[in-house]
Symmetry: C2
């Protein structure tokens, strides 16, 4: 009998936003894997730290954050092999995933490498998308609104076209694209509709009108939400 | 001191997909409100039933499911007034919300009526969106994919335009629009990329290629997910 790989959505940051299902699997499984920076800590592990019970075998999956994709692919190949060794021996393995594993999550790279050979079960989690809406105290989308999720690395031309044709938008993976994305939004006259959220649901959560965030900011765990219709739910 | 209204995301259906935060508020609050059919049961209450502890004051919010908006608005006005009476007396009130309160949730109608007069706190939940992706065992969106969420009642012309310009799409609120939406997807040559999910994470969950669902089906708690790129995560 081989083990099962569990991809656990652990939510956006507040340790209390883990689901009961993920919590039980976390506490009952002996092998615990999580993404981590090349050097340093794992945010995912920090999120679940209050829930950890006793000693586990821990595997930090360290993925190089390079623009080139190959170094990351090699790292995922190695990680899949390491997790596979445990699964082969009949040990279950949980992999922690910030937010939801299948919503722009890096878990999919392990999933793609492991699901053909071993049973994989995914537990959905609270995504950064709805966590950010909660932080803003404002519905993401109402009634027949179209909601578009846009990764910031897309071309400015594509971002503009898609922003033009949606009611609400969430711009993800802002990072080093911040200044350009901010300019796109400004050029489209959407600054008043745009809010910036950093570290939603975490202790140091920060919310600002986008216009108050300087173009040279270096955002971290951030998202921009745009509501064209204002308070459509009233 | 007035009470606080808590909008609790209770997840997509599996009672274990409630968050710890929502569970604690559910169990520590005396007044429990939830949406219900005009006659009959409340799905939201059924989802949390295994977690209910002891006697609570229960308020079923019965909203008429008419195409005209006015009867529902009147019902929300009345419900807001009833909850407001408890809040005025300093009692906290939890309102159960299937999925996530701010992701196309009807909670926003209560929120819009109550948040100006009383403190409101929203707890995000696992949305139907990511629950459906989990049910399909396939990532919703990867890398720089554009993900578009489309309510089925939109005009066929708009649905087509938006489907043309996205990598992944989730079509919500399918209900009585099913036959038309199915035809739109067929006309666009996207049948092979489309899957149908009913009651995701519930005991009677059902997943089918869209082409296997007859046009005269009467879907219930269902969503259609479309991935144009196939397995982009590999």
């Amino acid at each position: 009998m081989t083990g099962t790989l569990y991809g656990l959505g652990i939510g956006p940051g507040d340790p209390e936003l883990i689901t009961l299902k993920a919590l039980k699997l976390l506490q009952s499984t002996q092998v615990l894997a999580y993404p981590a920076l090349e050097e340093g800590d794992s945010l995912a592990r920090a999120i679940v730290a209050p829930h950890l019970n006793g000693h586990k075998t821990e595997i930090a999956i360290r993925i190089p954050m390079t623009v080139a994709r190959e170094p990351a692919q090699v790292a995922y190949d190695l990680a899949a092999k390491e997790l596979g060794e445990h699964l082969k021996q009949g040990e279950d393995v949980v992999v922690l995933c910030e937010g939801d594993p299948f919503f722009y999550g890096s878990f999919m790279y392990l999933f793609g490498r492991i699901a053909e050979d071993f049973p994989v079960e995914v537990v959905p989690g609270v995504s950064s998308l709805t966590a950010c809406a909660t932080a803003l105290q404002s519905p993401l989308s109402a009634r027949n609104d179209i909601l578009t999720v846009l990764p910031a690395p897309l071309d400015s031309r594509i971002l503009k076209e898609r922003l033009r044709e949606t009611d609400s938008a969430a711009i993800m993976k802002v990072g080093r694209h911040f200044a350009r994305v901010r300019e796109v939004i400004d050029e489209m006259g959407l600054m008043e509709n745009a809010r910036y959220i950093e570290r939603a649901t975490m202790e140091n959560e920060k919310i600002l009108p986008l216009s108050d965030v300087p173009p040279d900011a270096a955002p971290y765990f951030s998202m921009i939400l745009i509501h064209k219709r204002g308070q459509a739910w009233k």
